[in-house]
């Protein structure tokens, strides 16, 4: 066997295309005769549609059709099916493809124009007159459950969509016995995904065959298929959904959107291919976001600095619809107790309807928010007891000898959660060592001599990854000896074409260049779930391993017939099966594939089933738990409140690494996302639900100059829960990052300063917290 590719930092197979402009994203696909769609959207956050005047728009140049919901009656009516039904949510709380009665947030699509060009469609859309009677707006999360609060949805009694709970241990007893109980309220704000590619959809419909084909910039092409097939009453086999190159996803592209349904309906109505590309303003208005959670929490701690229990309540801003059920709050509950060996926990989350765009997971989902509140509570206890922050953690963490550790909480399927492996204290000690925590006092003094405030931040997390049930894969050797991996798992930049190829190449003894990965096309692979929750390495990766190993066995069996040698004596290298010690007795994988492809009138070798291929569905029945600790240093300018992150160190454990280059890329990008959440990204709406930060001039993303050096160190605690020993790595960078930066800012301001309870924090707020400010 050649050098193993698994574990090697091999270059990505995707890149030669991407760096030369040959990536093919939805907007780069132009079916013949395609027409372009533009949407007319609500400018009010809440109202009742009285009338829609499309008369002028219909006469505009290039316009082919203008649709409102009732025009689709022959094909569809009512709201879309619920994506992830939740027993507590009475629904469906989902969109209609075009709103027909009540509109519930700014940016909700109401009418659609088709024209020969996008510009003409947009110009005509401008000329559609909407008459919407305003209704009172629920835009203030903190007061949305008050008895007299305006209702976000008229048909409901109030704005509480559901309340989810998790609890374990003797909560009352733990809090009664605890030496210290501290109470804090936190406001956590996260913005949108801001993938550089916006959403986009193309649909074609063959009226004779009643076949719908779509390309969509989605993390979940199979969910789109399931959802739309069910909505349109089509068999799933008559709907083909593909995700071509996707320019970033980060969560919101995992939902199914009303525009996807509307574009499909327009294709059904016209028989023409229809394309819609979201513009950046629409992305701010109509792509799901994350926004606010308000946490009122109490922590119980012992005199010696152990966290014993956490209890409290969260208000979760759900927005006006729940296309994805209760996924964000459920993820929040599943993120407790983090790395802490708590005796007792009692958390309830109120899912609150507001007249804002719905919230669905953004990189990390609710995990960063829970990491933030838990890490803040740990720091709060440290302050209260006058103990070092790391000491609280050392005393409170789950210890390595407690693995597997049953937390007391439950997974989405109701099964008890147990952490599989990992040494949390080792990760903490590693970052402290790498950032040279011992030398911090000297560095702080040096910064002070330059008039700057230096702070050291610390945060840890545990991350559930590898969400079930499965992603499958087929591994096939072609008649030319190429290994073709087909999977349902979509990619949005995670490098699956490379990592999945590494796994298959190792199993089959071929070079990386001889493997191609075809993904996210329901016409090529029958089933798929979604690229979310850091699950693809575990699910698809394991399936590729299982399928490739089956193909290997089949190849050896076939070769043993052809070469008349025992299977045990055979080896595969560089696409050739040969007898160990007699390498001229050999047959290529290509020949084996040909012999199993069959020849008319000839028998297959050894009665082996045709097709040098195998399909596997690895079912992930228990989550795998990645973990990590981060430490950073910030330098604060007391005059302006400007915060600069000067160092950032990550210790991360995602089990065995398939490709360290790619894992580091995921972590680094994730940390920057978390830094954005801590310092820059703020999606502001006014009290009427109008977005105030809907361009990149107002909504600030981190840029190259904001980027600290991020040093990454890996611990590898292989997961016993899958054949590769891997855990997910897509979100571990983001989860503790905001908590880490905020803790550093607090440290910079000094022990007497304000305890920080929210993010993002602006330079203006920081300046206000520093009493040494010159004026």
């Amino acid at each position: 066997m050649g050098a193993r590719l698994f574990g090697a930092s091999v270059q990505r197979l995707e890149d030669a295309r991407l760096v030369t402009g040959r990536g093919r994203y939805v907007d780069d696909i132009h079916p013949a005769g395609v027409v372009h769609a533009a949407f007319v959207r609500s400018s009010l956050a809440h109202g009742l549609i009285q009338s829609i005047d499309t008369s002028v728009a219909r006469t505009m140049p290039g316009v082919l059709a203008v649709y409102v919901m009732s025009d689709f009656a022959a094909f569809a009516s009512g709201p879309l099916p619920q994506l992830a039904p939740h027993p507590l949510i009475q629904g469906p709380i989902t969109y209609e493809p075009l709103a027909s009665g009540e509109v519930r947030h700014v940016g909700e699509a109401i009418a659609m124009v088709l024209a020969t060009s996008r510009a003409e469609a947009e110009d005509a859309a401008e000329r559609i007159n909407l008459d919407i009677e305003p209704l009172p707006v629920a835009a203030d999360l903190a007061h949305a459950l008050d008895p007299d609060a305006p209702k976000a949805r008229s048909e409901r009694a109030d704005n509480r969509l559901a309340t989810l709970k998790t609890a374990f241990g003797d909560v009352a007893g733990t809090f009664a016995r605890a030496d210290h109980v501290l109470k804090e309220t936190f406001t956590v704000h996260r913005g949108g995904c801001h993938s550089m590619e916006t959403r986009g959809v193309i649909a074609t419909f063959d009226a004779d065959d009643r076949r719908l084909e779509m390309w969509t910039s989605s993390q979940s092409p199979y969910l789109v298929r399931r959802n739309l097939a069910s909505y349109f009453g089509l068999d799933e086999s008559a709907v083909r959904v593909r995700a071509p190159d996707v320019g970033g996803g980060f969560g919101p592209k995992a939902a199914v959107y009303p525009e996807e349904a509307a574009v499909a309906l327009a294709a059904m109505m016209t028989g023409k291919p229809v394309k819609w590309i979201e513009d950046r303003s629409e992305h701010f208005l109509a792509t799901t976001q994350q926004r606010d959670q308000i946490w009122e929490l109490e922590v119980a701690a012992s005199n010696d600095g152990r966290l014993l229990g956490v209890r409290g309540r969260c208000l979760h801003d759900n927005g006006a619809y729940a296309p994805y059920g209760a996924i964000l709050p459920a993820t929040a509950l599943g993120s407790f107790p983090g790395p802490y060996a708590l005796e007792a926990l009692d958390i309830s989350i109120d899912i609150v309807l507001t007249n804002l765009v719905p919230t669905t997971p953004v990189r990390g989902a609710s995990r960063p928010s829970v990491a933030f509140v838990l890490e803040r509570l740990a720091d709060r206890v440290a302050r209260h007891l006058g103990l070092p922050r790391e000491e609280i953690r050392r005393r409170s963490f789950i210890r390595v000898e407690q693995m597997p550790y049953v937390t007391g909480t439950k997974a989405r399927d109701g099964s008890p959660i147990s952490y599989d492996s990992g040494d949390y204290t080792a990760a903490l000690n590693l970052v402290l060592d790498k950032i040279d925590a011992d030398g911090f006092a000297a560095r702080r003094a040096e910064a002070a001599s330059r008039g700057k405030l230096l702070g050291l931040g610390l945060a840890s997390c545990v991350e559930d990854t590898g969400l079930g049930p499965f992603e499958g894969a087929t591994v096939r050797v072609s008649s030319r000896g190429r290994v073709i991996v087909t999977t349902g798992a979509a990619s949005q930049g995670q490098g699956h074409q490379t990592t999945l190829a590494q796994i298959a190449a190792d199993a089959l003894g071929v070079s990386l260049e001889n493997v191609s990965v075809e993904a996210a096309d329901s016409g090529k692979f029958p089933l798929g779930i979604s690229t979310i929750a850091s699950r693809v390495a575990v699910t698809a990766g394991s399936s590729v391993e299982l399928a490739a190993q089956q193909v290997r066995r089949k190849a050896l069996k076939t070769a043993s017939h052809l070469l008349e040698a025992a299977e045990d004596d055979l080896e595969i290298e560089n696409g050739v099966v040969f007898v160990k010690g007699a390498s001229d007795v050999k047959v290529t994988l290509a020949t084996l594939a040909q012999s199993l492809a069959g020849t008319a009138g000839m028998r297959l070798p050894g009665g082996i089933e045709p097709d040098l291929a195998a399909t596997a569905y690895f079912e992930s029945t228990a989550l795998t738990f990645a973990h990590g600790s981060n430490a950073c240093e910030v330098e604060v300018d007391p005059e302006t409140g400007d915060v600069r992150i000067t160092r950032y160190v990550v210790a991360h454990d995602c089990g065995r690494l398939i490709n360290p280059l790619i894992v580091d890329g995921q972590i680094r990008g994730g940390v920057i996302h978390g830094i954005g959440n801590a310092l820059y990204e703020r999606m502001i709406h006014d009290d009427q639900g109008q977005p105030l930060t809907a361009t990149y001039a107002d909504y600030l993303l981190p840029m190259a100059s904001e980027m600290p050096n991020i040093e990454i160190y890996h611990l590898e605690s292989p997961s016993p829960r899958n054949p590769l020993g891997v855990k997910g790595a897509g979100e571990g960078g983001t989860i503790p990052a905001a908590a880490c930066v905020i803790s550093a800012i607090e440290d910079a301001i000094g022990p007497g300063g304000t305890f920080l309870r929210h993010h993002p924090i602006s330079f203006e707020e920081v300046a206000g917290l520093i009493d040494t400010r010159t004026i």
Partner: protein
């Protein structure tokens, strides 16, 4: 005077002629929709993300000089006479990657790949420019490129590695290897003819002389003047405004020139921020620091000082600096020109002292005299490519330790760029050596402005910051500074006092 009715630009060694295009057609739409070149991406259509970055080459002193621009807000007509290079053009015909592209692959500079074409083009422009490339050059170059996936570090590393390996003849760079040929072809496109594409009711015009400009604008006072289109481009792509008549200033001979005069410099209205960057830095390093943080490389390569003044925005970065320097504006209408102090041009929010048919001709900026010192600070939430919350500029004339005259101007503090007259007066006679003598000015500056609260900053923060920046300027000039801040750039204390 000759007239040409089709646009010409150089692409892949060929001169392309475009005789029919709408005046508002953007370069991005031309590439993607008309030419079918899909490598260049749209990420925001408003100049913020850089996914659409392409590179334009033009002749400067006989050499081809390259600059990155945002194709989404660049009008097609603006590229007349220039060479266009897009992401499809960098690899050699046999597929060998350009050194910048190879470095991006080697160092994992791309994940989803959507920002990648724009980033590669920005780095390509950096690679073409000569001069040492360190980390701050790279982050400056990337100030107009957003990437959500990578965290930038591998991209920065790729840039450093490609540029470090660069030698004079730039092996592996077929754009550089053809530069002599390109120069000849670009020279052949310089015909001195007025460009006019369209009809009397809808046209894109790019006059070649001041006279032609004056005449054309006199005939069509309802036309929109376009210099860099970094503002006007957004009217088209975001506000969906209809602009049937566009007069572009970029081809007017002499209008983009910067003249050094005995007492200062005269900036032609069409000179870009990039064109004047070195001149401003020579007046004072703080100006260089402010300049480097106006928009991004892409925005500075197209955007002009003339446009920054003409648009009358209360948050433009150059007006406060230029007002503090006592700049004079020259306006022209037909054959008539008139001059005014720059500050007089800004009458009220959205109202400037400019008549229909009148255009900004030039700006004269006096250099600092001996005994004059200058400071300017831009305060924004994000270091790069961010609109200022507060922009401040200070010029003090000293007599020993005593302040004889002060000119202080702010942006973001009022409906127009505005002087702090009260603080200026209060400073006269104050001593740098006596902090107590500054108190009146520090109090006065709060009375000089009643700023608004908005998403960038609250009124209180603005007032506090204005006072803090004045104090900071005084401390620095007094030579007692220990606060070297990133926001304002580092200036060694020894340099501070005159």
């Amino acid at each position: 005077m000759t007239m040409r009715s089709s646009l010409r630009y150089l692409h892949r060694g060929e001169i392309r002629d475009v005789s029919h295009f709408g005046p508002m057609t953007t370069l991005l739409d031309h590439l993607r929709l008309e030419r079918g070149l899909k490598g260049t991406k749209e990420g925001c259509n408003e100049g913020d993300c850089g996914a659409c970055t392409v590179v334009l080459g033009r002749l400067v002193d006989g050499h081809v000089s390259y600059r990155p621009v945002n194709a989404c807000i660049q009008l097609l007509g603006q590229i007349d006479g220039e060479e266009l290079i897009t992401i499809e053009d960098l690899a050699a015909s046999d597929g060998t990657l350009h050194p910048v592209q190879s470095a991006m692959v080697d160092l994992h500079g791309s994940q989803c790949g959507y920002c990648t074409p724009g980033i590669v083009m920005s780095l390509f422009a950096l690679y073409q420019a000569d001069g040492p490339v360190g980390r701050s050059e790279v982050t400056d170059q990337l100030a107009g490129n957003l990437c959500r996936c990578t965290g930038y570090r591998p991209i920065v590393d790729a840039a450093l590695s490609a540029c470090a390996a660069r030698t004079e003849n730039k092996p592996g760079d077929h754009v550089a290897s053809k530069s002599a040929e390109t120069a000849v072809k670009l020279a052949s496109l310089r015909d001195g003819a007025d460009l006019f594409v369209g009809s009397q009711t809808s046209f894109f015009a790019a006059p070649a002389s001041i006279e032609s400009l004056a005449t054309l604008y006199h005939q069509h006072p309802d036309a929109i003047l376009v210099a860099g289109a970094t503002d006007v481009g957004l009217w088209i792509t975001k506000q969906l405004r209809q602009l049937p008549k566009i007069i572009h200033l970029g081809r007017v001979v002499g209008l983009a020139e910067v003249h050094e005069t005995a007492d200062g410099l005269t900036i032609g209205a069409a000179a870009t921020f990039s064109d004047v960057e070195a001149h401003m830095t020579a007046i004072d390093p703080d100006l260089g620091e402010v300049w480097r943080r106006i928009g991004s490389k892409q925005v500075r390569a197209s955007g002009t000082v003339g446009g920054n003044i003409a648009n009358g925005s209360p948050i433009g970065d150059s007006p406060p600096a230029l007002i503090a320097l006592d700049a004079t504006l020259t306006l022209q209408k037909g054959d008539d020109t008139r001059k005014m102090p720059l500050e007089a041009y800004f009458i009220a929010y959205g109202k400037q002292d400019r008549k229909p048919g009148e255009f900004v001709r030039s700006i004269h900026v006096p250099r600092l005299k001996p005994h004059q010192v200058f400071r300017a600070y831009k305060i924004s939430k994000r270091f790069d490519q961010d609109i200022s919350a507060v922009m401040s500029a200070f010029r003090l004339t000293l007599e020993g330790d005593f302040i004889r005259e002060a000119r202080i101007a702010f942006g973001g503090m009022a409906a127009t760029p505005k002087r702090a007259h009260g603080a200026e007066k209060a400073l006269v006679g104050a001593s740098l050596a006596d902090e107590a003598s500054w108190a009146a000015a520090l109090a006065a500056i709060r009375a000089d402005f009643t700023p608004l609260s908005d998403m960038r900053a609250s009124a209180t923060y603005r007032s506090d910051t204005a006072a803090a920046l004045l104090e900071k300027a005084l401390i620095e000039i007094a030579g007692t500074s220990t606060h070297a801040t990133r926001v304002t750039g580092h200036r060694p204390v020894s340099e501070a006092a005159e």
